[in-house]
Amino acid sequence: MMNAANDKKIFKEAYCPSCGRFIGPREKCPFCGAEIKERIRLKYIKVLALVLAIVGVFGIFLFSKMIPVPTVKIADIDASYNYAPIRVKGYVIEYPDYNEESESITFWIMDETGEIMVKAYRDAARELIKQGKIPGVMDYIDCIFEARITRGFKYLIIEVPDYLTIYKPEPEQLTITQIIENNITMKKAIVEGVITSVRSYSSGYGIWITDGEYELEIWVPISQLSFFSNHTDILDRVAPGMKVIVKGGLKLYRGSPEIVPDSLLDIQIIEE
């Protein structure tokens, strides 16, 4: 047995490399039909497979890096986009809401084709708050999202806060009368008025101001207190009779315009 093994080792070329049988000086195995001379060593195929796999993966990596994330209109996002990384640009139409339990931030954006919900969870939400990247109403954002469609509902997820860019449009100086009479919304504005009442709700604070003719509500969502906890003292100070200037986004609430400041710092008391 040992001798046969030694023979095979020494007279390697006398044995068929495919079936291992003794074939002598033949160039083709009479048993399995394998060619003896023109053969490719398995080792080379193995090395080739490894090289191809490594080059292939890095090729895909470079290819992925090279192609930009496509910019998509909101109306074009449908179920087939599920999990696709996409770039969407649009105006924020609802002030971000913060859910402490799930540590998530939710807001809505719109472009010329439609509206969609945006969400940031846990780490991304914490990072947004840390970086102060909380968009205000009517801010223009440009972000890379992951599209998600769950049970028929479509929304966008902020995965990396660094890829959220917030542009703050120049606010327009408007009077309350102009806003109410022309029903102006979807705009950044600076408005002046005298406080008539301050009400607190479970979802936020309503500060009513007047220019003598009409009233406008300054809406401070409760989530703003979570995002900008250092500036809450303004809410303790405001009282009827005070004159304030507020900068924020105008939006429609139950048929009437209201102004939502980007943060509590955007409410300034000018006359106590």
């Binding site: 398995l42 195929i45 193995k46 497979a49 490894l50 191809l52 796999a53 490594i54 292939g56 993966v57 090729g59 895909i60 990596f61 290819f63 992925s64 890096k65 192609i67 930009p68 994330v69 496509p70 998509v72 074009d76 449908d78 179920a79 087939s80 986009y81 599920n82 999990y83 696709a84 990384p85 996409i86 846990r122 780490d123 991304a124 890379i144 599209a147 469609i149 769950t150 049970r151 028929g152 995965e159 990396v160 660094d162 890829y163």
Partner: protein, 440 residues
């Protein structure tokens, strides 16, 4: 909700699945993705409720009939990779029919376990989820460690030099670790920046799966010489009742484990359950793995209908969720009973379908069927994605070939899903993708 119509549609799904099994390497998910794509693109309109029940029939049928392609045509999917060798041994011994029946029996018993658990799942699963959710990252990490630890140095230690012996022993595990690393990196790229059009985002990982799990076998089949083994058709199977119950029970636990926890596939779950329940012998192994994969596919889809928690597990649930929302409790019970019915019908059909497969393999040969399989894989990827998808599939195929060439564990290729999902669960996924410069 027309119950009779929905059940009939589900049975039609079983028939579709039965015929799809004659194309080696064709995963039912690919067929379902094409149906969803046609529906979403507006090319074909199918009522979402009907589509959902068609998918129930297709997935139940697939979980029974796919054993045929795996046993007789050597083309397992990712859930079958662990038990293909014992089943292939049966095939080479002319006992392929018996192997097919063993897997079928295991699946059927596991479905009975599933049926018995239907009333309890809505109560139990939310509690289990509550308890295990914070530990998911660890769970996946442990599965990864388990996969890596199953590699061991191999070799006969007969080479003369120490270096030769070292090389011989470590080439397999090192190739395994390299496969894991490449598949994991590949998965990260595909999860965070798949180089395919965004309107095909829902099937971004499909070309990689086809490449890694279907193509290597088909290529190997084309290159290999297969002995023509006469298959013996038997009217009894060599198994004991307690083995069926034990294998089916272990398979049920494994299948539910895989179905419930993200990133754990049936193969890994079945392998873990096999260790946990101390299985020994090919028969028990084949039964439990068959049961595990059946429950993995069916259980994951049943969770989609669970009224007490919104949970989406497995590609089928994700794809169905794009078009249909089960808003009523009745859907859960109807889906469960439809699955039970489809499982019974599938088992009855398993005998004639297996016989037909034996005839087909005998007539055309595995090589011809595999060439057809490669062509259909390319066509599917092209239809579902684009030419970029073919590129991804090709890279996946080369990664999938490494374990076959180096005789290391194929489970390493599961890193394509385990690594990115694991990273996402522990919250590091986007950070790593950003570090790699995949965003932007």
């Amino acid at each position: 909700m027309d119950v009779v119509l929905l059940v009939l549609v589900a049975l039609a799904g079983v028939i579709i699945a039965a015929f799809s099994c004659f194309i080696p390497g064709l995963h039912i998910y690919n067929l379902i993705a094409i149906i969803v794509l046609l529906h979403l693109s507006g090319a074909v309109y199918i009522d979402p409720e009907i589509m959902c029940f068609l998918f129930i029939g297709m997935i139940v049928g697939y979980s029974f009939f796919n054993v045929i392609t795996s046993v007789f045509m050597s083309a397992p999917d990712e859930s079958l990779m662990f038990f293909i060798f014992p089943a292939q041994r049966y095939f080479l011994e002319g006992r392929g029919f018996e192997a097919s029946m063993l897997i079928g029996v295991g699946s059927l018993v596991a479905v009975m376990f599933l049926a018995a658990s239907v009333p309890f799942l809505p109560i139990l699963l939310p509690r289990i989820w509550e308890l295990t959710r914070p530990l998911l990252g660890w769970l996946i990490l442990l599965v990864i460690v388990f996969i890596l630890l199953t590699e061991w140095p191999r070799g006969l230690e007969r080479s003369e030099s120490r270096w030769e012996r070292f090389k011989e022993a470590w080439s397999s595990p090192l190739a395994g670790f390299l496969t894991f690393a490449l598949a994991g990196f590949f998965g990260i790229i595909l999860f965070f920046k798949p180089p395919i059009p965004p309107e095909r985002g829902f099937v971004a990982i499909t070309p990689a799966f086809i490449g890694i799990f279907a193509l290597p076998w088909a290529i190997t089949n084309v290159l290999s010489k297969f002995p023509k083994v006469e298959q013996h058709i038997t009217d009894s199977i060599n198994v004991k009742v307690h083995e069926i119950i034990r294998g089916g029970g272990a398979g049920f636990l494994a299948g539910m484990f895989g179905a419930f926890f993200p990133a754990i596939t049936a193969g890994v779950a079945g392998f873990l359950a096999g260790h946990a329940t101390a299985q020994k012998g090919d028969r028990l192994f084949i039964i439990s793995q068959g049961a595990s994969r059946a429950i993995y596919y069916m259980g994951a889809f049943l969770l989609f209908f669970l009224p007490t928690m919104h949970i989406t597990r497995g590609a089928l649930a994700w794809m169905t969720g794009l078009v249909f929302t089960p808003e009523r409790v009745e859907y859960y019970y109807l889906a469960a009973f439809t699955m039970l019915l489809c499982a019974g019908v599938s088992f009855l059909l398993l005998t004639p379908i297996t016989k037909l497969a034996i005839k087909l393999v005998h007539r055309y040969g595995i090589r011809t069927l595999s060439i057809f399989s490669i062509i259909s894989c390319i066509a599917i990827v092209l239809v579902l994605t684009s030419w970029e998808g073919l590129l991804i599939m090709a890279v996946g195929a080369v990664i999938g070939m490494i374990p076959l060439l180096f005789n290391c564990r194929r489970s390493n290729t599961l890193a394509v899903i385990l690594v990115p999902l694991g990273l996402n669960i522990i919250g590091l996924g986007p950070t790593i993708a950003e570090l790699l410069g995949l965003f932007g």
